[in-house]
């Protein structure tokens, strides 16, 4: 046990402590709230908190011990996200071959990120797969509805694979694990903050046709709180105060953008959640929607600041 503790450096240890104190705080809060006001509708919130415990634990196990495990975990996450997207989107039977290519792209993309081939990781999907997928569709020969498939399949890869693989790319930078923790914690907490501020102060709807529950108050409150949170997590990053403020501010906004993009997709498909695998949250995609946009943005900011 002591050996393991020696391996984990103190900054990461304090991060783990922060995560579990936040979770404990939430769980105790809901418990007491339920005792004081038994009529309050807390079942969903409690379920969400419970799922957060599980997700946080899985995430920490996947990232703390070994880089190899992290890459396998990210690849699995991409796989499940891809499967979920294929399930909800209405694709044709003729697209099966191209879908298989999408699944095969997962190990290739993570092979590039694992070995730190930066250029290959950045061009494989937007350059190579963007040609390979339409060509595969052309080879089938069914042109009825092919435009839609040509547009959907590459977009799906960008969401499920390209965005998420930046979590792996972060790990290739020195001090990358701290940055990964920073990104994931800030993005996920941004979702929570926006939700909480929206509940407390929410009045003016920000995108009523896309996401009727989101408000300006939630958005602004969330971004400010997230930026402050980022500042307090400065110890996970190599940056100075202005840099951390800029990064946190932009990441919070990118998270919001990812969230509403997936919301709009769900609205078009007339779905509430993308699946039901995470109790209280919905599907995997409902949980990582902000991350898929925030991750590339965050990575390139980091890259810009460190070079």
């Amino acid at each position: 046990m002591k050996n393991i503790l020696n391996h984990i450096d103190p900054t990461l240890l304090s991060f783990i402590l922060i995560v579990f104190s936040v979770l404990s705080f939430a769980s105790i809060l809901f418990f007491l709230w339920g005792k004081i006001n038994p009529k309050a509708k807390l079942t969903e919130l409690k379920m969400r908190a419970k799922s957060w415990w599980i997700m946080a634990t899985v995430f920490l196990i996947a990232t703390v011990f070994s880089a190899k495990v992290s890459y396998i975990a990210f690849a699995l996450l991409s796989f499940v996200a891809l499967r979920e997207l294929f399930t909800i989107l209405k694709l044709r039977q003729e697209d099966r071959g191209a879908m298989l290519l999408c699944y095969l792209a997962i190990p290739i993309q993570y092979f590039f990120t694992y070995h730190g081939y930066l250029v290959a990781s950045l061009v494989f999907i937007p350059v190579f797969m963007f040609v390979a997928l339409p060509f595969r569709l052309v080879l089938v020969g069914q042109t009825n509805g092919i435009i839609q498939s040509m547009a959907i399949l590459p977009a799906v890869l960008m969401i499920a694979l390209f965005g998420l693989s930046h979590l792996g790319l972060l790990l290739t930078i020195p001090g990358g694990r701290g940055l990964l923790f920073f990104l994931v914690f800030v993005t996920e907490m941004n979702d929570v903050f926006q939700f909480v501020w929206g509940k407390i102060l929410g009045k003016h709807k920000i995108l009523p046709k896309v996401s009727p529950n989101k408000t300006w108050e939630g958005f602004i409150g969330g971004v400010i709180t997230t930026t402050m949170l980022g500042l307090s997590l400065k110890f996970l990053t190599p940056f100075n105060i202005p840099q951390v403020l800029v990064i946190s501010f932009i990441t919070a906004n990118a998270g919001f953008i990812g969230d509403v993009i997936i919301s709009a997709v769900k609205r078009d498909l007339q779905l509430k959640d993308t699946s039901t695998v995470i109790p209280g949250h919905g599907g995997i995609l409902d949980r990582i929607d902000s991350l898929v946009v925030a991750a590339p943005v965050f990575f390139h900011l980091v890259y810009y600041f460190t070079n």
Binding site: F86, R96, L100, T276
Partner: protein, 209 residues
């Protein structure tokens, strides 16, 4: 011995393959414990349907559960018969009209199994259809239930397996699948046609829910 073998397959190997391929989730699975003997009435889109249903069955009962399969397809050769029965515990019935030959009468074969106390998995569509589109139910199971009105049936809707592995495909593509079990029902209707029409509605309702 055979029970252990089937349990190793359906509680170990099959879920190991099925989970990544289909992320399968079961809804209202508890119903399987409610009655001792039952007939599962399900829609049919893929070979995966039987695997998905068999892995949902209670461990101690697995030997007593017989998926009813087309003898003319799965029993077309001795090898095929042997492996189908070995791995799926299937009850092979001829799909075509051989009512005169008693040993090949599909009704007799199924009723014999019911008399032995076995549970059946029946796909009244008769063959695999297009993904998430139900075909008309055949009347056969209605005739049987009219003779055994005390045996329960459980309408079941299977979603998306036809997308993972449709009839013509050889390579499976992962999609999220769902198996939704309905409540326990008993035969209702004056003739086979009515019984089957009721079943069809019950399965369709699960789809809509």
């Amino acid at each position: 011995m055979r029970k252990l073998f089937l349990n190793i397959i359906y509680k170990g190997i099959v879920p190991f393959i099925l989970k990544p391929l289909t992320g399968i989730t079961y809804k209202h699975k508890e119903v399987l414990a409610e009655v001792k003997q039952f007939i599962i009435i399900a829609n049919h889109n893929s070979h995966l349907d039987t695997l998905a249903l068999m892995s949902a069955m209670p461990k101690h009962k697995i030997l007593e559960i017989k998926p009813v399969a087309a003898g003319d397809y799965f029993g077309s050769s001795k090898m095929k018969t042997f492996f189908t029965v070995l791995f799926t515990n299937a009850l092979l019935i001829p799909r075509c009209c051989s009512l005169k030959n008693k040993s090949k009468d599909p009704f007799r074969i199924m009723m014999k199994a019911l008399k032995r106390g076995q549970s059946l998995i029946v796909y009244p569509e008769g063959s695999r259809g297009k993904a998430n589109e139900m075909q008309e139910f055949k009347n056969g199971i209605g005739h049987i239930l009219l003779k055994y009105p005390h045996i329960a049936y459980i309408p079941t809707y299977i979603e998306n397996t036809g997308k993972v592995l449709p009839k013509e495909a050889h390579v499976p593509i992962p999609f999220n699948c769902k198996v939704i079990f309905g409540d326990v029902h008993y035969c209702k209707g004056k003739n086979a046609k009515e019984v089957v029409a009721n079943m069809f509605n019950e399965v369709s309702n699960l789809k809509a829910a």
